[in-house]
Symmetry: C3
Subunit: 299 residues, 3 copies
Amino acid sequence: GYGRFGILYRDTAAGVDSTDVTSRFRLQIDATAESDAGVVFGARVRIQQDNDGLANGVSAAPETPIDADGDGDIDYRGRQETGINGVRFFARSGGLEVGVGNIYGALEFMPGMYPIDLGLTGHSYDYTAYNFRGDAYDSDSNGAAGLNGVEVLYSAGDLSVHVSASDVGDRIAGFVAYTWNGWTFALAAQDSDIVGDTEWAATVGGSFGPADVTLAYAKNGDDTGVIGGTGDHWVLAGRFDVGAATDVEVYVADADYFTDTSYGVDFNHDLGGGTSLRGGISSTGFDTTLVDFGVRFNF
Amino acid sequence: GYGRFGILYRDTAAGVDSTDVTSRFRLQIDATAESDAGVVFGARVRIQQDNDGLANGVSAAPETPIDADGDGDIDYRGRQETGINGVRFFARSGGLEVGVGNIYGALEFMPGMYPIDLGLTGHSYDYTAYNFRGDAYDSDSNGAAGLNGVEVLYSAGDLSVHVSASDVGDRIAGFVAYTWNGWTFALAAQDSDIVGDTEWAATVGGSFGPADVTLAYAKNGDDTGVIGGTGDHWVLAGRFDVGAATDVEVYVADADYFTDTSYGVDFNHDLGGGTSLRGGISSTGFDTTLVDFGVRFNF
Amino acid sequence: GYGRFGILYRDTAAGVDSTDVTSRFRLQIDATAESDAGVVFGARVRIQQDNDGLANGVSAAPETPIDADGDGDIDYRGRQETGINGVRFFARSGGLEVGVGNIYGALEFMPGMYPIDLGLTGHSYDYTAYNFRGDAYDSDSNGAAGLNGVEVLYSAGDLSVHVSASDVGDRIAGFVAYTWNGWTFALAAQDSDIVGDTEWAATVGGSFGPADVTLAYAKNGDDTGVIGGTGDHWVLAGRFDVGAATDVEVYVADADYFTDTSYGVDFNHDLGGGTSLRGGISSTGFDTTLVDFGVRFNF
């Protein structure tokens, strides 16, 4: 697992600003056993605690800070999650894996959906084109566990395929990805009963000299012309090595449901021994400015 | 601990049927220390997560499925337990053990009360004659911890004795068991303030050639003539080896408070490395049909 | 971590008495990583379960027992905490440490604030002069995590300094401690918006032959003349070795907000292998008599 902590500054479009301590603790438990025939059975579970919310068990968007402790200052903090999340179980043999429970989800797991991880905290994740409109592994809570989450992953050489389904809006989603000459192309589609869920997505990513570049698109429903509604989502992101121990990440993203174009830049500096210094600055799709800075350590 | 996952099919007497993913994750922590005089002090605690319920923290009987996710389909799923259960503490020296907290309970721990473990999930546990009308170690919740749960276990050669007590209905229960020529005879009695609690129970178990057979009886209050009420509970169960890596379990059980005789059959096939394939079919005392199939792995 | 269990007897000023099983399970996780430059980053988290309350998540003062299980007897028991507490993160280099989250707190961590640990359970902690009127590491819950808890600890030779701050009542507190000829002198001060919070405190502790002795004082607001209100708090406590494996602790404490002088005596007897027998008797500041006896084991 890992821990991270630092400072997070936030200034919303409405001019409400705050500076708070931010932190996460993640203890990951991967328990496995292997049959005589070589099939690996396992479970992944996390004990995680963030302070990214309004109250215990309630998370909050960066755009909606409130006065959580009643002292007259606006803040953004505080929820305590205390136990394990929903469990993902799997059986794996060769390039084939079947998962049930708190599944990864095909859209979430599609190459190019997390082209970068901005700053210390990830900021607004506006650079994740499918915009969380599909099943995803939930580190805090239950995810699709208990709602018949099932998925099949297959990979062979340069090809990978992933199909996932759950009773969350009767979602079924899948992607196909292929790597050719160092470039990975991926195409995904989803069918569900939930208005606003992603319909299809496409990404392409690879390297130009010292830079890793990803272009991603998702059709998250037809454009409603409503902020926070549905529509197209575009992302262009890159990572550049700057010296032996430092890299810089940048992105620009826009969506029909944003008020503004979203963009950001960060740095990650390796301190050795599994520790790193990280920080970033971004302007979100809802015109909130986020700045974070801190340390992450793996254990 | 162990993980298990698979498919569970259910068809109730009212004709409501559903097929769902079933799973359990159990991480068991046994922490002990030994004094210079050889007394072992310890604690047992579990981090467990099932999907055997209606909602977080609420379990459900197999007979009462509901539409948990509001999609119009009947289902049976979903609760997420996230932390540790009530703790059992103990001090052990030679054949004597004193336990406090989330105690095992004398009726629950009596030989012959769990003659088999049907299929992947255990099904309705109709083959447990005392019908959970006494203190028992609670893997999900608090059990008798916090309610002055105390128990004493003693064994010497072929004799074992267990007395438990708690403030749950001021229960006090005990059993005496003796093994003679490969057959184990056990007799238990309980006094409590709870109507419907087990009054006494008796079991006998042993081997006929390749088969392990158990006969169990519990007097769970006088017969009220009410379904789900009180009365006698009978169980006959057996386990048979079928080949080197496979066994088959069967049971038949009846109780005054059942609508129908309960019966079932299962198989367990060892896949090596602590993994096994399991499945079973049963018809419960309330005329619900259960079928499960899946895998279990120890870690 | 450790476990402890035993018996706790309680007799309040109102004459309500009860005898209950008491227990605690604490699993402590200290996760760290060290950078190439020698800075240690880490997190401390506990999975703890006590039965020291009225219900899950609700603790209770020894003076206010209730009939928690509705059986007509007064009792004091039962809460089950199931997950991890708030996390304390830190970065440490040489004698300097910065902590954030569920911070230790300068008043809580000040030398002389825990001169002894009475009996099995700690009893009423009347011998902790600052009376928990400041930030402190919370083993059950969130503490100052999520409320911008920050602290800096520095030590060099005989000198130690600790400053802590949080958004809990905008508390800021600090102490300076110095050890001279085997005696440790400490002085602390706090500013906060919370009526009744400690204003300043002073302690001195050291050894007289076989005895460790501590004198502590805290000004917990001006004397309101109200029981349970605010005012001065004095503590005198000592520990004496009695034979090779046994020690005895005693204390006497008084506060303006007590109804009576508080005092107590205990013993700790080492059983080897990280196990010990412990017990104590005290009369609290609210005239409740507490007697406990039991075992503690480290793992």
